[in-house]
Symmetry: none
Subunit: 457 residues, 3 copies
């Protein structure tokens, strides 16, 4: 239901807001407030349980803490963070320092009615969101004029765009509130940073992409190729940050549930996103305590325009104790390797589930359903007539789909399974057809009947 609602909203957007490219921000902003179904309680409990476990038996102390919220965990993560910070990649350090400096000048940041103290905003902030925030939304004179950087740098996107809408400063419906939450809005930036899902995937049961929703559906542990495009292949790295779409979950870290996380190695046990073909030790890190995957930007191989990135999820979106049915997106952030500053961002909606094609179809249908009646040819029109005038054949989406009666709720009410001896099937089918036709004639052109109707047949 939540998803339906969300999709409906999206659909409405599509209808009421014709897609604007360039300098307006109509990307997935509507998606920012869709979620209805999360269990905050359980999230909180995740930490408690850890305490409990750590106190109890042996294995408890070795659990890879999926839970961020108790004191010990926070401490240990702090330690880990510090360890990381002691030998940080240069750019991280740079960003962190920079932002801290920025913040030192802005003790209080007002964003969307949220008052953030500097402590909230910037301490240990390695996200660079603030810098980005400033770039996008502020008029901080210390920065270069940022709007010039990204606004009209729009290039045609031949492939399915994963999130290719630009960001504007004019409208901030649900802006990333504070330093601990990364932005989830697309911002191609100066180099037109783009992430896209390749078309033509054959195995729709493993993963599929909905162009309608611009959303990727994938099975757990299945590697997805993502194309990274850039106007210029500079020295940079990409960070991948999963972020809940609903604003009330935004501050929570997207992490695998306990069961799923234990399949990971120690280094990546908090990371719901994993990449392949990378040096593991430098890949799974934390940014502001939030698990983040970082990987260097590779230029594409000879003759290819896009660099491919092999990515997989290790926990279901529905997993209790993990995302817990709360939709989340992946934020791909491009960072300049020299300065560490953020120079591009793309957001990819996704859902990690067991039946990607089924779920995509369902959600696509939910999105489209309210929109239009899709009847296109005579038969459909006939059915439409019948449907409107009374009972008849059910609708009807044009697209191929798994036959799910649930999708057409009237269906199972309007049809019944009748065991028919095989040899009678044709007659029965014919009978049915004739009944339909008769019904139609009866309603619209009853005069065509030779004999008066009687129902006793």
């Amino acid at each position: 239901m939540a998803d339906v609602q969300r999709l409906l909203n999206q659909e409405n957007r599509v209808i009421t807001e014709p897609r604007q490219k360039g300098n307006t921000m109509n990307g997935n902003q509507q998606d920012l407030e869709p979620m209805l179904d999360d269990v905050d309680y359980q999230q909180l409990l995740r930490g408690d349980s850890l305490l409990t476990r750590i106190g109890s038996s042996n294995f408890a102390s070795l659990i890879e803490a999926p839970a961020p919220f108790n004191a010990e965990n926070r401490e240990s993560r702090h330690q880990e963070l510090h360890q990381l910070e002691q030998q940080p990649p240069q750019e991280q350090q740079a960003v962190s320092n920079m932002q801290f400096n920025d913040l030192s000048m802005n003790n209080v940041c007002m964003v969307n009615n949220d008052v953030l103290t500097s402590a909230d905003c910037g301490l240990n902030d390695s996200w660079g969101n603030l810098g980005q925030l400033v770039e996008n939304y502020s008029t901080d004179p210390l920065l270069l004029n940022p709007t010039q950087e990204y606004s009209p740098v729009v290039v045609p996107q031949p492939q399915v765009p994963a999130g290719s809408r630009d960001v504007s400063t004019s409208f901030i419906p649900d802006s990333p509130p504070n330093s601990q939450v990364p932005s989830i809005q697309n911002w191609p930036g100066q180099y037109d940073f783009q992430i896209s899902v390749p078309v033509g995937n054959k195995d729709q049961n493993k993963w599929c992409y909905s162009a309608i929703q611009e959303k990727l559906y994938l099975i757990k542990h299945v590697t997805i190729p993502l194309d990274v495009k850039l106007l210029q292949w500079l020295d940079a790295y990409i960070t991948i940050t999963p972020v809940f779409k609903a604003s009330r979950n935004r501050v929570h870290h997207v992490m695998p549930c306990f069961n799923c996380s234990t399949k990971n190695s120690v280094a990546s046990s908090d990371h719901i996103v994993m990449v392949e073909g990378q040096d593991c030790e430098y890949t799974y890190k934390y940014a502001d305590k939030r698990p983040v995957v970082t990987l260097p930007l590779h230029p594409p191989p000879p003759g290819e325009a896009a660099s491919t990135l092999l990515l997989k999820l290790v926990c279901l979106t529905s997993c209790n104790g993990g995302p817990n049915r709360r939709p989340f997106s992946l934020v791909f952030t491009l960072h300049n390797n020299s300065s560490g500053s953020e120079i591009g961002r793309q957001v990819l909606d996704l859902k990690c589930c067991q039946c990607p094609s089924r779920d995509m179809l369902n959600e696509d249908k939910a999105v489209q359903k309210p929109t239009q009646s899709t009847s296109t040819d005579i038969s459909n029109r006939l059915m439409e007539v019948l449907k409107r005038s009374g009972p008849a054949v059910t609708s009807t989406s044009e697209k191929k789909k798994r036959f799910t009666i649930k999708l057409e709720p009237e269906t199972d009410r309007r049809y019944q399974n009748v065991p028919v001896p095989v040899e009678y099937v044709p007659k029965v089918k014919g009978h049915v057809n004739s009944l339909i036709a008769a019904e139609y004639i009866r309603r619209n052109q009853p005069c065509l009947f030779l004999f008066p109707e009687d129902e006793s047949q």
Copy 2:
């Protein structure tokens, strides 16, 4: 079904995209994401990704080891990693250095509007992709004029082309990702590097080639002659790298299963591909830990246009613990012997199985099936007519087969399931047929009816 679908799509490609030779990339790109049939569990267990991530080359000791994540494993793998890193294969080192040198001369590489800095391009690249990139696509003035190199250098291919399609930058459905995964897209390069399978093979039970699918079927341990063509026979060598086609297996190394590998000598025990007539000790190596066959490029004997290469596989595509039913291709890469840089690439799809002709037939059929209409009898033909002329009943093949709604998308709209006693099936079908016919007449030649329609039939 999965294969069917894959093949269907391929078929569609053949139909809707007339084969373009030369500088467009319509080769096996559709096949890049075909795999549907492997077992995720086994995939998880397979050492490949683990090996890749962790860096072990001791595949035998890790593959299929289902409990990879305890501390001991981690430790030993780390150790192995270090060992490997301390003693890299010589040639890898050479290539890597070489490419880095190349790159050091090209600070910025422009590829399809993409600018690459040297730092991004070459560091730790042992695949040679970057060198190739620079050579082929860059417009950097420091380089030789590269666009001339690859654009229209297309030669007619008299034989069955194993993978003779050039690469374009315009459309990349599933490009090879990063340094640890080789590209699997054709790129003839400056010298129009071509690999082809000779026609006219008599013993189709040993090996055969499907022109439809551009795929080689061969029995294990049977040597296949492959023709290598080149515009100019320079001082070069060829590497043969087996790569899984599905992106989710891409990083895994294609290696023979344990049973099959033990039949090889020590040097080649990780190599599923073997060549004949070569000095063994220099042939079976590793590139970025991936088993690779390398062999010098021999000019053809006097009077012949192609140099022949004798190749065989030592493990079945279906072999458990090896490819495990996951389709893979062979990537033939041409390297300049002086610099080691990649100057051409061809990809050959194949399947190593026990019954090549049977399997080719089946898969060819599956590819073509969706193309042709399968109507064989009157009723089906009638339905075809009706379907074409408007709305009606869809076909109903008698033979038991998986009910693939995808192939008949309208089906789910107009029908419901009614069990019919077997003995009555013919009559029911006849009835349906007559009704369909009536419907048809009713629409197109209603005057033929003797009486107006009534429902009392």
Copy 3:
């Protein structure tokens, strides 16, 4: 499907084996091998067995590790075993010793063609199964005459019996195999130990009891009152042990999933069963590493016949990482406080779920469905006739359910599915009926036909 099948089996038992009270063992023995619906993979991965087997306390690194059988694992398990044996709970120790002594007199126990050496039987046995085994099934002359203890000591049970069937030595369908698995068969014992669920519960949405299945359905964290009855209130204590019903899960410990367990206190974090009104520190223990709830036997208050026990579950039967949809029972064992020996046992089937009434309804229905032939109206009766006299329609329940071919093996050969608009269903049914009737007449009373038959209809 699995449940249906299970229930079918159960139902068949009810029909073919009239309930025998007293000295025959027809209790829930049929349930001993019922489970079909769990995920073996996940079960294998579950930490329970792994922890037990491997003995590591690094839960995170070991859980879900799918390969338990290498030498190291075996070694570490031995180690854990030894560690645990060094500090066993007192009462367990007592029982264990006692039984070991018993065993020392019986070097070989023959049970159902299975020969157990004493080493297999009794080592580390803290369950007392062997003693019970011997008591129940053996005819060893060294023991007290056991058959007298339990055979005809049956008391009327006014309330819903939770599991009041006695145990006999005549038939052992799936006896508890070894020392680490407790018995899950009822054995009232000398004092006629009985556990029952009170009748007349008002809030069926919190918990309810199916008399048909003798199974308790309850919501998580909802306390259930259970009545304990005894012929004589001696000095004893009760242990409550959850045990999976399916034999293949029998050795696994029933424990709450990670999320649910963290809601418990430290002492009870491994216990899926909790009791109220008890001293916590003495309640949650381990027997042979299996989490067990122990509580003293309180005589009922003056004027009451039964002592009440307040019990709740803290994790759902469906919880992933916990029971994971694997049905389990609670084994209530009565122990003599002075000797610690087991003197009675009752088994309570249950399911902890979110919608107890719904699930009970569904499962009750599934149990009852296959029993009665559901033909109620003329058409069904006609079909019955035809089925017996030759080929015709099989029965056809109106309610939507999975089409179980196994129940009606001919079905799939003799029927076909025909989509029928709902509003025409009655007519189609009538049509089919008439066809069937005609067939019947044609066979049995052709003279009734007015016209000669022709097949062209």
